[in-house]
Point group: C2
Chain length 354, copies 2
DNA sequence: GATCCAGTCTGAATCGATGCAGAGAGGTGC
DNA sequence: GCACCTCTCTGCATCGATTCAGACTGGATC
């Protein structure tokens, strides 16, 4: 049996409160008595107040949760997510707060339960694919949260940090359009929740539920609409999951069509790298000069010479945690838009004339 | 005021126990009543049992802690650590357990407090530089833990997953020795706790406190002892911190010595990459053909063509968490040694004759 | 009709602490 | 000598649940 605070109190011959004070409010008792108490505690092997009991009584836990769409193991595979986590970690560290990574089980009920059961003081919600249910649980629990995916129905007091997805996407697409490309494919992760890999037909971008994906695709479409290419002419490709493999799989057969696209705009660097992988796998003589763009500017993008949109990943995480741990008095300040930049590299070039 | 379980009980007109059972043990009440209770809960906005209270009563939390030497933000910077975390995450996920990343504050007392206050059911201790104090706290708390750095004074029942650092290090060093190198430098992170960057003289490898560093340096020394180069002839370099910058800084001036080493054996890939950085920064005409080796085989090592020792990072994390969450009945099975492999790439070559 | 049982539900103790109001002791000022 | 403080320390209510031993109900069994 682990000794409790009571045991220490008995050993020293003081009340429970006094022992508690010895740990939590040293100014409430004489240094001498405090010394005796801590000594006795050491002797008894009392490891200090039980964190859980303390949290219950105090009403807060001292840790923040990070909620991910998908597998926890995936989160560590995605370089962007890792940088985001690093940012959250840095902020948490400054505040002396721990971070709890909560895996979401498959089933809807179980996933709900996981969010309900997380012992945290608040959540950083990292772009959960269909996050509404999670936000609902968090709100029900009365916990604060910061979201990183802009939602249409976000309340005015809802804290958020992110980028203008649509404008950023329009930027990179305008660059591609400016190079003369007109037959282009748009590639994104989970365009529709359960769609298979590959081409997909949608009457409009409005059908895309995930706000981030929606924003990026809409931005791509905006830029091409401006040069007279409308939605119906764009090839939409779905990738189930954000991985190089998924990216490569989604473009299978694409370049062997009668009139293949001359450019692929991907919704993430990881997918774009997958497209480059697919191209690299073709025999050297049969490698069409496709322009490819990504999104995020992860370190690998620089290595691969990928044209992409840079967004400050670590900053995003840091600010998300900061907004959570140290909420600005001004409500407007709880809504942070980070800058993005078009990074042009070798993966895009003028459309080949032929 | 958030509604409590009691409030729901009152609303439905049943006892607290029954409401509790509705959530935790559905078989203890009729489906009809359970339905009424859950409905009432929804109506009241009761978000389910309070996780903290539940943990207190039940005696376990449902999350495991991961303890890092250093800054949380550093952990996400080190590719090896990230893979390790991915492994822990995968295992945690399988068990429906969350993982708590606990930042350790600077002060010794505060750091202790942080470990004492972490609400977890156990710890994966990732190579904490001077981890003894942390293990002591964990043991005092009566919590299980798995260590990843072999310690001399480890009890027989202490769970551990790691590699034979010394043998692995000897392997890569033997490769370098086999290439004819005799004037070599050994580079490691925190050879001595507070030593400055650069050369360091130690009477023997026994003086190195950190078990991992000790093991690797000892292995390096073993291999060279076999070819007649003894400890005193080896150049020992300290890097304060495991980063490319630290690696580069530690070899400053090294290659401009009268009789510079022909090889640098680093205790980690990150440090080795720093050495390569330092070499690459020299004017092309003045770039000595130094052989460089790393340790860990992180993805970047392959890109850089670094000869190194491969160890299964993700596996290490996965097994660490698995040993914690699902302890083997057999004590011996709690001590796992993972395989390593020498990976020879372009960064090592025969010693230049001159 | 007494007994037994399975299925449901309740009451009360308990997990391990915190924090407030207040009690006593000792000292100061007038 | 009385009122008034300041320091320390104590007692008690409380945080929000879980759990176990029983109580009650209605039906089957002999």
């Amino acid at each position: 049996m682990k000794p409790t605070l009571q045991a220490v109190a008995d050993a020293v011959g003081v009340s429970r409160s006094t022992v508690s004070n010895a740990y939590s409010r040293p100014d409430q008792l004489s240094a001498a008595l405090r010394g005796r108490i801590l000594d006795a505690a050491r002797q008894l092997g009392y490891p200090g107040p039980n964190p859980t009991a303390r949290s219950l009584r105090r009403g807060f836990v001292g840790s923040i949760g990070v909620l991910f769409t998908s597998q926890l193991s995936y989160a560590f595979t995605d370089p962007f997510a890792v940088r985001f986590l690093a940012g959250v970690g840095a902020a948490a560290e400054r505040h002396g707060t721990s971070m709890l990574l909560v895996p979401l089980p498959q089933g809807a009920t179980d996933a709900r339960r996981a969010v309900e059961n997380a012992a945290v003081d608040g959540f950083c919600v990292y772009c959960v694919a269909d996050e509404e249910w999670a936000l609902e649980v968090i709100r029900d629990r009365g916990l604060p949260y910061v979201s990183t995916a802009a939602r249409d129905d976000a309340g005015p007091d809802e804290r958020f940090v992110g980028i203008d997805e649509r404008a950023a996407a329009r930027g990179v697409a305008a660059h591609v359009a400016g190079l003369g490309h007109r037959r282009v494919a748009l590639l994104a992760d989970s365009v529709l929740p359960d769609a298979p890999a590959g081409p997909l037909t949608l009457s409009g971008v409005g059908q895309v539920p995930h706000p981030t994906t929606h924003g990026r695709l809409a931005g791509f479409a905006d830029a091409f609409a401006e040069v007279g290419v409308d939605w119906a002419e764009l090839i939409l490709l779905n990738a189930p999951g954000n991985s190089r493999q998924a990216g490569a799989a989604a473009v299978a057969g694409l370049f062997d069509r009668p009139a293949p696209p001359t450019a692929v705009l991907a919704g993430s660097d990881v997918l774009a790298l997958g497209v480059l992988d697919a191209l690299a796998e073709r025999p050297a003589g049969d490698r069409p000069p496709i322009s490819v763009t990504g999104f995020d500017d992860i370190p690998e993008a620089a290595v691969a010479g990928l044209t992409t949109v840079r967004q400050p990943a670590e900053e995003k995480g840091r600010i998300a945690a900061e907004l959570l741990l140290d909420p600005p008095a001004d409500v407007a300040a709880g809504h942070v838009l980070l800058p993005t930049a078009l990074v042009v590299r070798a993966s895009t070039g003028p459309v080949p004339r032929s």
